[in-house]
Amino acid sequence: MAILVAKGVTKRFGGLNALSKIDLEVNEKAIYSIIGPNGAGKTTFFNCVTGFYTPEEGVISLEGQNITGLSPDRVTHLGVSRTYQNIRLFKNMTAVENILVGMHPHLKANLVGSIIRDRRTVQEEKESVEEAKRLLQFVGLRGKGDLMAMNLPYGAQRRLEIARALASRPKLLLLDEPTAGMNPSETQEMVHFIRRLRDELEITILLIEHQMRVVMSISEKITVLDFGEKIAEGTPVEIQNNPQVIEAYLGRGAASGLGQVQPVA
């Protein structure tokens, strides 16, 4: 059963096709990766799914519901949540507050309630702070709730960002290079963590990743983009043996490419 279906999604910037006719289907509770060289259109695709861009052509649907061109906040309400390549936390808010903002879609306190602090609002606030603390514990940041986000170390900021994304109780979580800037051991931890997300919380995960080691080890299915076009799709093994993919990476003369496209799983 597919949770996210994209059909013929095309996005242009000026005359440039950032995405052309992308088809994609993500099954429920899958870990699905999108890879490709820089500027291939991966993040653009994320932005189309989350509603920041409206594709010129094509349809994106979530659980059978058309979400093309919906405003980002509505998309989030429908159960999509994301993280960013360059961490974008609310730097001057504490870790708990960051998560509380993430919980926004299912909080109900309104203007009047906030002022008079009726019992329901107080109760809700108390429960949500507790839930935030649980989430912090889940991502391994126990006891760090009152620290300003900007004072957290890099790895912790990554995990906090994921916790914030989880706070909206998403069905589909989009992770944009969650291991960027991490050392091997941290990366390994993150891979485990992503698996846990899927297994324990039963969330579908759509991943953009540069480190092939990571991609190949956790993805169930992979789509490869190049210059806005889908050049391949398949299981990690299929992708590793796809001549087009190898060419896309090698053809660019990237020394980094070959070394990483080694089967590891």
Partner: protein, 568 residues
């Protein structure tokens, strides 16, 4: 911070010249001559003299403070140098001004000014006195580094108080004249202008003596209550004391101070509102006066018999005024909230102007009174009492401020406040978190508009009239400046900012000519030295000292990695 080895002669001379330049500027803009009419100590020295000598003193003080750890000889020498250089610049001005007709260009370059600068002496001895006094000023500043800090602090306190009390003579006499038996003794300290010499000596001795004595007292260890119950009791006692004090202020201070407090509170009302818009939600609104105008005019239109066959009372009209402001906030908000910061600023500024022009226009004159304004506006009635003096209206302002501050405080610490802060921090991410940014910005806008409108209604009732000329751009700027001076996003900051920016100029209204000059300089200096404001929000303070904190975060991160390593 310069090291001791490098020669400081050049920077010292530079500082002296800058000090002299400032003194010349203050003389030529007319401050020296104007303030010279005000004696600090009657017959001895005037505020004007303070103004042209203070630059040397202050420059010398700050120069020496920056270059710590000098030998005492050098401290005196540098102080002297700065004083002399500053004095020389002033001497140059006097020589130029007395020999050439500078007045064709600089209107304040009058013989009066040069008489003041030469202490009413003939030119040559006058200049010698000027130079000598400037030098003394420089050395005085160095003195504060040489004598024990406890004494110098006491002396500085004493001088500051003498200056303040001398300058505020009229006000102090006016206020204390209400205090029965105290009036006579207080009055006896003062001359017709400023303090009597004896009074000044007495005051100086009293203040610095007290200060010296206080500083000498060891801090008693029993000052901190250990039990939480005691602490909360203390907390409530403090609040209760404050409230009682606030309630008692009008009868204690009399009508004039009540009027100033009314102005201060009116700006606090607006400041809290704008703080929600700018401080919480990060929307730069330069046309905030529009909502103030809408509040005041709605009140005027509904309650004035001039425009209305069946005028309402204040309380009847209040809900309509509030609704009008909220609606106006929504109508302005909707089209402009999608715009980025600076566009938002200019469009709101335009909105403020549009509202003023509509109120002024001949076109809408039958409804809004045009340039003749609206008169005979109703004043609030409680029971049988009409609140019509500034002392009575103070309570209305106090009530308004109390309610509004409470609401703002509750909002800040709620889901709303968090959401606004998230929008301010990173709008895109906030949207991705499922926040409908337009709705929340609108709420901020409407709340801000509402508070400003309430201030407008009380303003209209206080004056019983409104004129379009009161609704100018300066009001918006004043409110914006006061929340930033107080500390953006900080609710107590609004109170402090309003007291400083709106209250203190009212005390010295007669020097209103220089009000905006000082105001402008204050804004610049304030932002350069204390950008987080006088009473900052804890968070904002962090934001403005990010660099320091980044270093701190780095240390934290290292500690963490090492901790993680050891855990494994």
């Amino acid at each position: 911070m310069q090291s001791q080895n490098t020669s400081l002669w050049k920077p010292a001379i530079q500082s002296g010249l800058i000090a002299g330049g400032v003194a010349v500027l203050l003389s030529l803009v007319g401050m020296v001559a104007t303030f010279n009419q005000r004696f600090i100590i009657s017959g001895v020295f005037s505020m004007g003299q303070v103004i042209f000598l203070a630059p040397m003193l202050l420059m010398s003080y700050f120069f020496l403070r920056k270059t710590m750890a000098l030998s005492s000889q050098k401290i005196v020498l540098y102080g002297l140098l700065i004083g002399v250089m500053g004095g020389l610049v002033l001497v140059l001005l006097v020589l130029l001004g007395t020999n050439f007709n500078l007045q064709a260009m600089f209107i304040n370059s009058s013989s009066k000014l040069y008489d003041i600068l030469t202490f009413n002496q003939p030119l040559a001895p006058g200049l010698m006195i000027l130079l000598a006094l400037s030098a003394v000023m420089g050395v005085l500043a160095s003195g504060s580094f040489l004598i024990p800090p406890r004494i110098s602090a006491a002396v500085i306190q004493g001088i500051t108080w003498v200056l303040l009390v001398g300058l505020l003579r009229d006000l102090i006499i006016t206020v204390t004249s209400r205090w029965g038996p105290l009036a006579g003794p207080v009055k006896s300290l003062f001359a017709v202008s400023g303090l009597k010499p004896l009074g000044a000596i007495f005051l100086f001795a009293l203040i610095s003596g007290l200060y010296y004595w206080r500083n000498g007292k060891p801090v008693s260890p029993a000052q901190k209550p250990t039990q939480t119950k005691d602490r909360s009791l203390l907390f409530w006692a403090k609040w209760a004391g404050l409230i009682i004090l606030l309630l008692l202020l009008p009868p204690i201070l009399g009508i004039f101070f009540s009027d100033i407090l009314d102005t201060v509170f009116m700006y606090i009302l607006m400041g809290i509102g704008l703080n929600i818009v700018v401080g919480f939600a990060g929307l730069l609104d330069l046309g905030y006066v529009a909502f103030f105008a809408i509040g005041a005019y709605t009140m005027g239109v509904l309650t004035s018999p001039e425009l209305n066959a069946d005028p309402m009372t204040y309380w009847q009209a209040l809900p309509f005024a509030m609704i009008a402001c909220v609606v106006a906030g929504l109508i302005l908000g909707l089209p402009v909230l999608k715009m980025r910061g600076d566009y938002l600023a200019i469009v709101t500024l335009g909105f403020g102007e549009i509202v003023r022009l509509l109120a002024l226009s001949d076109w809408l004159r039958p409804w809004f009174g045009g340039s003749q304004g609206i008169q005979l506006i109703a004043q609030p009635v409680i029971g049988n009492m009409v609140l019509n003096t500034q002392q009575e209206l103070y309570y209305l302002f106090l009530l308004g401020v109390g309610i509004v501050a409470f609401i703002a405080w509750r909002l800040r610490d709620s889901r709303m406040g968090r959401t606004w802060m998230a929008i301010r921090e990173d709008e895109d991410v906030a949207i991705a978190m499922g926040i409908n940014h337009v709705a929340y910005k609108l709420m901020a806008f409407a709340t801000g508009a509402l508070f400003s409108g309430i201030a407008g209604t009380i303003f209209a009732a206080k004056l019983q009239s409104v004129y379009p000329h009161s609704m100018n751009f300066l009001v918006s700027i004043n409110v914006l400046c006061l929340i930033i001076i107080g500390g953006m996003g900080s609710i107590p900051g609004v109170f402090v900012g309003s007291l400083v920016l709106m209250g203190s100029p009212e005390l010295l209204r007669e020097f209103a000519e220089y009000r905006y000059l000082v105001y402008g300089a204050l804004l610049v200096v304030m932002m350069l030295t204390r950008p987080e404001g006088l009473w900052p929000d804890a968070r904002r303070k962090l934001e403005l000292h990010e660099e320091e904190l980044e270093a701190e975060a780095h240390v934290l991160a290292e500690a963490e990695t090492s901790a993680m390593k050891s855990a494994k």
